[in-house]
């Protein structure tokens, strides 16, 4: 919790939530098997080792696979209305980061396997219990040079 802001899930974001440009996705890297996992863990989900380093991940990556959500997801959700078809992707974060699921803010036709993306964090919804702004994440396609 940072002021009146909180992460969408504890242990999944790092940085000062007041400065959204500085926020990064966070998680654990296993010292035994080397894998990177989204979210702070107690043990490695891959090999069960408790020897973990808690780290921040790169804010850039590339699309491993994608689909387009043509219809709104079932309630409850905090997605914008009316629903606009939205690409959703498995993204390989750079620097041997994890492969994570994330929405991509782009025209559905612009998503492609191998496409380069960067992280954008923002206010997703308001936590009903505390009234805090909940910070979540999405990606945008890099501009083609």
């Amino acid at each position: 919790m940072s002021g009146d802001r909180m992460a969408f899930r504890d242990g999944f974001l790092s940085g000062d939530l007041a400065k959204l440009g500085d926020v990064r996705l966070a998680g654990s890297r296993c010292r035994a098997c080397g894998i990177a996992l989204f979210g702070r863990r107690l043990r490695c989900e891959n090999c069960s080792s408790p020897a973990l380093d808690h780290v921040s991940f790169a804010d850039t990556g590339s699309i491993h696979s994608y689909t387009v959500q043509r219809y709104p997801p079932p309630q409850p959700n905090a997605c914008p209305e009316p629903w606009l078809p939205r690409p959703l992707a498995w993204i390989d974060l750079d620097d041997c980061g994890p492969r994570i699921l994330g929405p991509i803010r782009c025209n559905p036709d612009d998503a492609e396997i191998g496409g380069r993306v960067h992280l954008v964090c923002g206010v997703g919804w308001i936590d009903q219990a505390s009234g805090a702004e909940v910070i979540d994440y999405a990606f945008e396609m890099d501009k083609r040079i």
Binding site: R70, A89, P98, R99, L101, W125
Partner: protein, 381 residues
């Protein structure tokens, strides 16, 4: 160790049963299995009830309808693999000699539309809208297309096969044949998956009576051996609903792992199987299972459907009962619906959808959180 054999199966029509209480749905399937085995309910020594969305102690509630015989009947929950987990427990208890006669039944009543996402997903996944199950299958499909040249037409052919077979199954939910053109033209849900490439959650129940082989002669005389019934939770990464992180590893998929365990235990390889039911939540997943269960090399599933290998009349018919895409998926009962189909096939009782001369069959399930399993059945008479 004794062998466990199935001597009776029962199944309601899978579909919409808005006015039937779930205990009565379950009872309908159990009664059919009892008639099939020529057995009375009071002879059953142990039961397992599989369900996912139904309430606590669904199995015990069914005893209000069937009669309180004083036996054990815990609920067994394992997402879409729930019924396999129940059948496995029944098999293990019979094999170990703890009991001679066990009942595995599954029941679900879920109604129409999206399943409530809060049961599968954390609050943040719901809020971010990451809760459409087909999106996970679509992500796998898109990558397979990229890597292996699989096409939407391949998936449409799988869906059309399911609809054709379902039209021959009086207990299937969806009984209207469709062309590949109609399937491709139906609304896009999660690219590349269109509406008619997806299964529907439905209501229904199914049951199997599992006995020690030494007693089989007393109960119908057409025993089907459970040659293997393997269950596991996926190693990392989990490539399905609820997963938010899938960093690649060298582990085999849980589909391959459970299939190989089942082949080893049964002493039956994929080349020896006559008829198959797989967890076709969507048309692409069926293609993926052709490869992961060892029916063809990786990347060649599209060719299998192009060549008609898995059609009724092909070398290895897959989902002759219509699969989940046409039969529908009552989660807790689904694997027992597959077993019902395979048992009917191995006995030569599958009527218009009969696979001629089938003697060995495989049924495979996969569900949320990585529940996966394979049951191998073979004729024992």
């Amino acid at each position: 160790m004794s062998k466990a054999v199935i001597v009776g199966v029962g199944m309601t029509a899978f579909g919409r049963h808005p006015t039937t209480h779930f205990t009565h749905l379950a009872a309908q399937a159990i009664e059919e299995a009892l008639v099939d085995a020529d057995m009375d309910f009071t002879e059953i020594q142990q039961a397992f009830c599989s369900r996912v969305y139904l309430p606590s102690s669904t199995g015990a509630r069914v005893f209000e309808v069937m009669g309180r015989t004083g036996i054990s009947c815990p609920d067994v929950e394992g997402a879409c693999g729930a019924a396999l987990a129940g059948v496995r427990q029944a098999k293990l208890m019979v094999e170990s000699g703890q009991v001679d006669i066990a009942l595995a039944f599954g029941v679900e009543k879920i109604g129409k539309g999206f399943m409530p996402p809060t049961i599968l997903y954390d609050d943040w996944q719901c809020q971010m809208g990451l809760t459409q199950n087909p999106q996970y299958w679509a992500l796998n499909a898109r990558r397979h297309m990229h890597d292996h040249g699989t096409t939407a037409m391949h998936m449409a052919k799988v869906a059309a096969k399911a609809k054709r077979n379902g039209a021959l199954n009086p207990k299937a939910f969806f009984r209207k044949p469709m062309t590949v053109e109609e399937i491709l033209a139906s609304p896009m849900v999660n690219d590349p998956l269109t509406l008619y490439m997806l299964c529907s959650p439905v209501d229904g129940a199914a049951a199997a009576i599992v006995v020690n082989e030494k007693l089989a002669h007393r109960f119908g005389g057409r025993p089907i051996e459970i040659a293997a019934c393997e269950h596991a939770i996926s190693r990392y990464p989990l490539l399905n609903a609820s997963s938010f992180c899938t960093t690649p590893t060298d582990h085999p998929s849980v589909y391959r792992m459970t299939a190989e365990q089942a082949y080893a235990r049964a002493g039956i390889g994929p080349e020896d199987i006559d008829v198959v039911e797989v967890q076709d939540n969507d048309a692409f997943s069926e293609l993926e299972y052709y490869e992961e269960l060892g029916f063809c090399p990786r990347g060649e599933a599209g060719r299998m459907i192009d060549d008609g290998v898995t059609e009724l009349g092909g070398r290895m018919p897959v989902n002759p009962g219509g699969g989940l895409q046409a039969r529908g998926e009552p989660l807790g009962a689904s694997h027992l619906g597959q077993i019902y189909e395979i048992v009917k096939q191995l006995r030569g009782e599958a009527e218009q959808r009969q696979v001629e001369g089938a003697r060995t069959g495989l049924a495979q399930v996969f569900g949320a959180f990585g529940h996966c399993g394979v049951t191998m059945l073979k004729r024992a008479y």
